[in-house]
């Protein structure tokens, strides 16, 4: 991890990965702010971590749900109630493939 300055192309790339539409002004602003934050984060390099494991704080591991219909399902009408576009009981999404 070396001193990280985000280039404009990197900012554009990250925004694309995040599916986040940014204006040109925002690209510039976040480029600067993220560089400053990453510079601060660079201090993690000073912490000695060889052999240190990662963990889940609750100590839970591989908690499986029973393979059955639980009590937190919604009727179709309720599930669709907040959708901006729906058709015949389905969500309408953007097309993935060109027609």
């Amino acid at each position: 991890m070396s001193r990280m300055k985000l280039s404009k192309d990197q900012v554009k790339h990250v925004a694309k990965l995040a599916n986040l539409p940014l204006t040109e002004n925002e690209e510039e602003k976040y480029g600067e702010q993220l560089s400053e934050i990453l510079e601060y984060i660079d201090q993690l390099n000073r912490a000695d971590t060889p052999g240190v494991a990662t963990y889940n704080v609750s100590g839970q591991e591989n908690v499986m749900a029973k393979d059955e219909v639980g009590n937190c399902t919604l009727p179709q009408e309720d599930a669709l109630a907040n959708a901006s576009k729906k058709r015949q009981g389905f969500f309408v999404t953007k097309g993935v493939f060109e027609q």
Binding site: M1, V14, A18, L34, I37, L38, Y40, T49, S58
Partner: protein, 446 residues
């Protein structure tokens, strides 16, 4: 009788003694909200039909049939089709929702200024921030606009606004309370907890909302029940030397040192402890939290609910960008994995310290409430305000903020930390301190 000045415990007693009815109780609170909410902007929605014990709910906890915005434009018209588990549990205990409270968008912020619906004001001084992200919940409790409130805490979002507004706030142990129905921010850190007018109130609310529901796989511990045990004299209070260094306001330090002296007077044995990895906590937190944020906020695509992603506010966008970057190909090992390992070191620090003491105390926030607008354009300086609340969040341990005095006329909170699932002792210490002091009885002049 000043109905709205009573704590939850006192209100329950007064209802039992028929000193007033539930209708009178709700009328009193609704009237107070009507006269003060324009000034404070604590509530985004008020429920005139409230007829139980009136509680304020942070607007990131979903409520069936009641608009839930998460402080975001994206969810401006979102009406949840189900209740969060905590809401069902409260209603089983006779509580009703008097309103949904303002917050930093998607619970991201330390000042309440990141709400799409305008900032909440601090009841102690309307030119200052109330803290965040449970800004409206803390301000509503401090201004007596509800009997108690629920907030959520990821890196300090219950404890810090509670401290800055002079009320009690508890972040339970990770896994103590089901998050089902709490709109997720950073799932390895998020917890729901109470903001109240006394420590006894916080304990009671935790009893109501905790326990397994089968819908949050990290929540596998039975409901919290307080045992009627007394704190033994000679209880060991650890004071981490790293929590009294650079950045801590001198006036705040004076108040905290005085509170520690008070605990000693009350029978505590004061022990200096060390949490050597504290300095890395904010850096590790901002990687881990932002990474989880970018995954959780991916669901807001404008298809199943809400508007499109261009409607995120500035802080949400910043964190989505940071998280996406740190998880992206070529950077994962250097950022996310490194941060996760540092998190382990921070947890081990606490485990070691708790071998020598029963609780750890220190300040909740390095300063009192700051001026509205002061830190908005400098995100990093805002992040650093969470320096004492973030390490316990990373370790998953519980933390209680208890009013312990004033610096420059603004409230200061004492942070009492316990071992994982060690809520009982922090309540005990908090109550012993509260019973011996009058800070929690101080009210803002509004």
């Amino acid at each position: 009788m000043n109905i709205t000045g009573l704590t939850l415990t006192e209100t329950l007693k007064a209802l039992e003694d028929k000193q007033f009815s539930k209708d009178e109780l709700n009328e009193a609170y609704l009237e107070r909200i009507k006269s003060l909410n324009d000034k404070l902007n604590a509530f985004l929605l008020v429920n005139e039909q409230s007829n139980g014990l009136p509680a304020a709910i942070k607007d990131i906890i979903v409520t069936k049939g009641i608009t839930t915005t998460a402080g975001s434009k994206i969810l401006e018209h979102f009406v949840p089709p189900y209740n969060a588990t905590v809401i069902d549990r409260l209603s089983e205990n006779g509580i009703s929702i008097i309103g949904k409270t303002n917050l930093d968008e998607f619970a991201m912020g330390s000042s309440g200024e990141n709400s799409a619906y305008g900032p909440t004001k601090n009841p102690w001084d309307l030119t200052k921030v109330p803290g965040g992200s449970s800004s409206g919940s803390a301000a509503a409790v401090a201004a007596d606009l509800c009997v108690f409130a629920l907030g959520t805490d990821t890196g300090g979002s219950i404890r810090q606004p509670a401290a800055l507004c002079g009320v009690v706030g508890l972040k339970p142990s990770y896994g103590r309370v089901s998050r089902y129905g709490s709109i997720a921010m950073a799932s390895s850190l998020d917890q729901i907890g109470p903001i109240t007018k006394s420590v006894a109130d916080a304990r009671l609310v935790l009893e109501w909302i905790s326990g397994v529901d089968g819908k949050d796989s990290n929540c596998n511990v039975e409901k919290f029940t307080m045992q009627p045990s007394r704190l033994q004299a000679g209880f060991r209070v650890g004071v981490p030397r790293e929590y009294f260094g650079k950045g801590l306001d001198q006036e705040v330090e004076k108040v905290i040192r005085e509170a520690i002296r008070k605990l000693e007077e009350l029978g505590a044995q004061i022990i200096e402890v060390s949490l050597p990895h504290t300095e890395y906590a904010i850096a590790a937190y901002y990687i881990i939290m932002a990474s989880e944020v970018c995954a959780n906020l991916a669901r807001f695509d404008g298809i199943r609910f809400g508007f499109g992603r261009e409607n995120f506010g500035a802080e949400a966008k910043r964190r989505i960008m940071l998280g996406t970057f740190s998880l992206s190909s070529g950077y994962y090992d250097a950022y996310f994995e490194k941060a996760a390992k540092v998190r382990t070191l921070i947890k081990q620090d606490f485990e070691k310290a708790f071998q020598e003491c029963d609780v750890i105390v220190g300040p909740v926030s390095p300063t009192t409430a700051w001026n509205t607008g002061e830190k908005v354009s400098d995100p990093l300086s805002m992040y650093l305000m969470d320096v004492y609340t973030v390490p316990p969040s990373l370790a998953g341990i519980p933390g209680l903020s208890v009013p312990c005095g004033f610096a420059g006329g603004m409230p200061v909170g004492l942070h009492i930390l316990g071992k994982y699932m060690g809520e009982e002792i922090i309540f005990n210490v908090g109550e012993v301190y509260e019973n011996a002091t009058d800070w929690h009885k101080e009210k803002p002049k509004l």
